[in-house]
């Protein structure tokens, strides 16, 4: 390769030309080799990691390799790399200051890729946004909400926020809360509701459905009925379970309790009003 470049330089009559020819050859051959290496890296990573990570690794190999090839080609032209590297360092600092947010997003994205709190297809809640993960990119995550909105969340925001992954586990629990009058026959209500769970094949037999009283307030007894379903059935089953519970309570003639307040007035003297009537204004006050 070097001999060919020297011969071309001699033929042109300028020794600098041979350096440029060598640089072009290094660039072309080097980029082809780097491209091949990145494909191999990606193929190997595909076997060990998810496609998204494998693609990122392949791209990283391509960019790093291309940079090395570019420096090698410049070296062939006789360029002073130390000056170039110094300039690149200053430029990097300048760009770094200018792109703090982007860099932060990229670094957060790398951490999220490593931590994997969710994957494409999961349903997550970030703040007050709930949606299906459409894409996990280096600087942002794209969600599609249930009302079909496209939401882009920067990785830095995700990294700082509480992420609730609603589809991480295979099972979900449906909680139905309501109030019962204190006088209600609680064992009977418990039996009615557990019977609902037992006769709905989509409600899991195990973990078992649970009926519990978790407080008393101005409405009455606060009751919670909890049943487990698979995450695939969760949305549909939640509505169905409400329907079944309401149906069972109606069929069992069980009344729900609502917040109420009893006002008791005691009249000690028959001719005295319960509340003092406002006095009539004096004449001179008019």
């Amino acid at each position: 390769m070097s001999a060919v470049a020297d011969a071309i330089g001699a033929a042109v009559g300028d020794p600098r030309v041979s350096g440029w020819v060598r640089a072009v050859i290094v660039l072309v051959v080097g980029l082809v080799v780097v491209r091949g290496v990145s494909l191999v890296v990606r193929a190997i990573a595909m076997r060990m990691a998810e496609p998204r990570r494998a693609t990122l690794l392949g791209k990283a190999a391509l960019y790093v390799g291309s940079l090395i090839v570019a420096f090698a080609a410049l070296r062939e032209t006789g360029a002073n790399l130390s000056v170039l590297l110094g300039a690149a360092g200053v430029l990097t600092v300048a760009i770094g200051f200018a792109s703090q947010t982007s860099a932060s997003n990229v670094i957060s994205g790398l951490f999220l890729l490593g931590e994997r709190p969710f994957v494409v297809g999961d349903i997550i809640r970030v703040g007050d946004v709930i949606g299906t993960v459409e894409a996990v990119d280096l600087v942002s995550v794209k969600l599609r909400t249930f009302d079909n909105l496209y939401v882009r969340i920067p990785n830095e925001t995700l990294f700082r926020s509480n992420i609730v992954n609603q589809t991480h586990y295979r099972l979900r629990r449906i909680d139905i809360e309501f109030a019962l009058p204190v006088r209600e026959d609680i064992p009977r209500v418990r039996e009615l509701l557990l019977d609902v769970a037992a006769h709905d094949p989509r409600v899991l037999d195990e973990p078992p459905a649970v009926f519990m009283i978790h407080g008393i307030n101005d409405a009455g007894l606060m009751v919670r009925f909890s049943a487990w379903v698979t995450r695939e059935n969760y949305l549909e089953q939640r509505t169905r379970l409400y329907e079944e519970v309401i149906g069972a309570l109606r069929a069992g003639d069980v009344q729900l309790a609502w917040p109420h307040r009893s006002v008791v007035s005691s009249v000690q003297v028959a001719d005295r009003p319960a509340f003092d009537a406002p006095e009539a204004p004096h004449e001179d006050a008019r």
Partner: protein, 281 residues
């Protein structure tokens, strides 16, 4: 068990016996049959462009009615019914409908009527029934029209809610220590499980029937049986072996194989499930 023939039109569709129920049913365009398959009532109509299925399931898993008879295309099978339409253009005037019984497509979790205590160094036999599925095919080509459970068991889960499962079914009927105590139902298969306990005393509250790994048989009386299952618990308290014996229990007598296992027998699946059930086995 009771059998039903010719109730709808007064004309028996066939002999009506259980044996013929599982045989081919020649059907013309515009013809309908109603099948009573234990808890499930199934109405099948053959039209030129589609097979129309309507079915409903009774709340009683042990309903014993079994048979079939001619019906009209628009007949209802009861409320609430589920309708499925299978598009299949078929110019042939006559086509056979083939019904095949088979076992559940997931593990089935069964509870004994009372917890069983198996003493150290002893063994017990437990009998349990699980509901059958019905596969409908267009004969003779064998295209699948539908596969339906005669009774849809409740979903259940083995292991902690944050674990990997597996998802299984929960049998609503109880397991028994003697065959005579077991309630026989025409649309359920009986599995005999042998529990060998070499470890400390074991209290069994739930049993796993590895239905997808078992073959299904029918005896001369029309009762369904599965391969026998043997579970061994070692001295260390871990379940060391599950043997799917590949043959029905001796109580079944002479039987005929009616369905192969859905999955090739992998006893470690059952062992892992037992581990989830008893925690750390």
């Amino acid at each position: 068990m009771s059998e039903v023939t010719g109730e709808a039109t007064g004309e028996p569709a066939g002999q009506g016996a259980a044996q013929e129920l599982w045989g081919p049913h020649p059907m013309r365009h515009g013809q309908a049959l109603r099948f009573e398959l234990g808890p499930m009532s199934l109405h099948v109509a053959r039209l030129e462009e589609e097979w129309r299925l309507r079915h409903t399931t009774a709340r009683e898993p042990l309903r014993e009615v079994l048979g079939y008879y001619d019906a009209l295309v628009g007949d209802a099978v009861g409320e609430p019914e589920i309708e499925e339409r299978v598009a299949a253009h078929d110019a042939a005037e006559l086509r056979d409908l083939q019904l095949q019984p088979l076992l559940a497509d997931r593990l089935v979790l069964a509870r004994p009527d009372v917890p069983i205590t198996v003493l150290e160094g002893s063994r017990v036999f437990v009998f349990v029934t699980t509901p059958l599925w019905v596969r409908l095919r267009r004969a003779p080509e064998g295209e699948l029209i539908a596969e339906l459970p005669s009774y849809r068991p409740s979903d259940s889960w083995l292991g902690p809610p944050s674990g990997d499962g597996p998802l299984c079914y929960a049998s609503r009927t109880t397991a028994r220590l003697t065959l005579g105590q077991l309630h026989a139902s025409p649309m359920r298969a009986t599995t005999k499980i042998e529990l060998r306990n070499d470890g400390s005393t074991l209290r069994v509250q739930r049993l796993i029937v590895p239905a997808p790994q078992l073959r299904l048989y029918r005896d001369a009386g029309g009762r369904f049986w599965t391969d026998e299952v043997t579970v061994t618990r070692g001295r260390d308290g871990a379940f060391s072996a599950v043997r799917l014996d590949g043959q029905p229990p001796v109580e079944a007598g002479a039987v005929k194989l009616v369905a192969d296992a859905r999955e090739i027998g992998t006893a470690h699946v059952v062992l892992r499930a037992l581990g989830s059930l008893f925690g750390g086995a």
